[in-house]
Symmetry: C2
Subunit: 244 residues, 2 copies
C-alpha cells in the first residue's frame, strides 16, 4: 500500500555531510562521525533518520576519500535496506562537498529545476522526522531554508577578539543548525556565480543565498539537535541517547 | 597565614542573580535556581564557587521577595561559613536587581570608585575559579568585562522571524555567559543616565557599557558553563555533575 504522505519519487535527496576529519575532537583515532554512541556510529544514527523518512528518493553520504570503504562497511552492517543510501567522495570544503552531491545527481540525470537537497551534518544524530519534513516543504516552496533555534545565550560580537564591539538584540538572533535545504540547481547556479575569494568566505551555503538576495526560510530546530564537535558534546549526547 | 594571591579586602563583591521565577522550565513548583542537582539546589552549587574563591569580601544573593527566607534556609543548611553571603531582595528586572545590589553596598558604605561587582546567573553552577579570577582582574583593569565562548553554531539573524536577514561572520561572534563584572559606581552612573525607554531595551548590563562607548573586556568562558533554563539543560547538567 502506498503511504499517504509519501514524497517518494518527488525529487528529494538527502545529503549527509561526513567530510570532517575531526580536528576539534582531540586525539581520537577516527573522525567524530564514526565514533560510537549507544553502540552505533554517530553517522549511522543520523543516516537512520533519513532512511526511515519516506520523503527521500536517495540519501547521498559524502565521506572523505580514505573513509569511503569504511563508511560503506558500517552502512552494510547497520542499515538493513541500504539500497537508497550511496557513498560519494566529499570535497575539500563544505560547499565543494555539497557540489559533489549535486554533480552526482547531474551525472545520474536526476537533477531538474525542482530537485531538492536536504543537507545535514552527519554529527547531528538527533534530527527529527518533523525537522526533515519541514525542510523538504520549505525548500520546495521557498527555494532554500535553514534550521534554527532562537538564541538561548546573548550573542556578543567582537572584531578585536579582546573587547566587545556589539551586543545585537537577542530577539532577532538564532543559532543555526542543520539541515539546510535547497533547490539544488539554484544553489549550483548561485555558487558558480561566486569568484574564488567569495567562495573562500562564504562557507555557509545559506549565506550564499542571503548574499545573492535570495529568500531563505527559517525552519524550527530543536535544542537537542546538537552537533557533536567537542568531547563535551559526546558526553551530552550519551546522556540524551540513554534517555531515548 | 595570609593567602598569597588573596584579593580579600580588595573591594570585590559577588552578586548572584537569583531573581527568576522560572517560567521557561515548565510546570515545576520551584524557580529553577532552587531545583536540585546532585543533591544540592543549583543556586547553592553556584554560590559555593564564590564562597571558596578568596577574592570576594562578600557575596550578595539577590532573591525574589517571597523566596528570601527559603534562600536563607538552604544557605544555612548547605554553606558552612556563610557570614560572607547575604540575601537581598531582587528587583523587577535583571538590571534593577543589580542596582539593588549596588544600593546595598552604598548603604553599607562599601562603595567607592574601585569597587568591583562580579554578577553571575545563579543557574550557572559550573563557573570555575579561573573564570571568577579573570573577571575580577579584567573588571579592575578595564572597568567592565563579559564572559564569552566563541560561537559554536552559525549565528543567523532574522528580523521577520520567518526568513534569514543576515548570517554574520562567525569568527567574530561569541555566545555570552556570565559572570559579567563591573566597577559598580561606573555601572550605576551609566545606568542612571538612561531614560526609561533605554532601560527597557538594554536588558544586558554589558550592552549599556557598549552603548555608552565604554570598554568591555572579553573573558574566556567554558563550553560547560551552561545556564540551566530548560528541562533539557537540567538533563545535561545531571550528566555533567555525575562526571565531576
Amino acid at each position: 500500500m502506498e503511504e499517504k504522505n509519501s514524497n517518494r519519487g518527488k525529487n528529494v535527496y538527502g545529503v549527509l555531510l561526513a567530510g570532517g576529519v575531526g580536528a576539534r575532537m582531540g586525539n581520537v583515532e577516527k573522525p567524530k562521525q564514526f565514533m560510537e554512541l549507544g553502540g552505533k556510529p554517530i553517522l549511522i544514527l543520523a543516516l537512520e533518520k533519513f532512511v526511515i523518512h519516506p520523503g527521500f528518493d536517495k540519501i547521498l553520504v559524502l565521506a572523505p576519500k580514505q573513509w569511503i570503504r569504511y563508511t560503506q562497511d558500517i552502512m552494510d552492517k547497520h542499515i538493513p535496506q541500504r539500497e537508497r543510501a550511496v557513498v560519494i567522495e566529499g570535497g575539500d570544503t563544505r560547499n565543494e562537498t555539497i557540489m559533489n552531491a549535486i554533480r552526482y545527481l547531474e551525472r545520474e540525470r536526476l537533477l531538474d529545476e525542482d530537485t531538492v537537497i536536504v543537507t545535514h551534518d552527519s554529527v547531528r544524530p538527533f534530527v527529527t522526522h518533523r525537522i526533515l519534513q519541514e525542510n523538504i516543504e520549505a525548500a520546495q516552496q521557498y527555494g532554500a531554508c535553514d534550521t534554527v533555534i532562537p538564541a538561548t545565550d546573548t550573542i556578543v560580537q567582537s572584531s578585536s577578539h579582546a573587547f566587545v564591539s556589539d551586543i545585537p538584540d537577542r530577539s532577532v538572533m538564532y543559532q543555526g543548525q542543520t539541515p539546510q535545504s535547497f533547490k539544488a540547481k539554484k544553489l549550483k547556479q548561485v555558487y558558480d556565480s561566486l569568484n574564488s575569494q567569495e567562495k573562500e568566505i562564504l562557507t555557509d551555503a545559506c549565506k550564499i543565498f542571503v548574499m545573492k538576495k535570495e529568500q531563505v526560510r527559517l525552519v524550527q530546530g530543536e535544542v537537542y539537535n546538537i552537533k557533536i564537535t567537542y568531547p563535551y558534546d559526546l558526553k551530552v549526547a550519551e546522556s540524551l541517547i540513554a534517555g531515548c
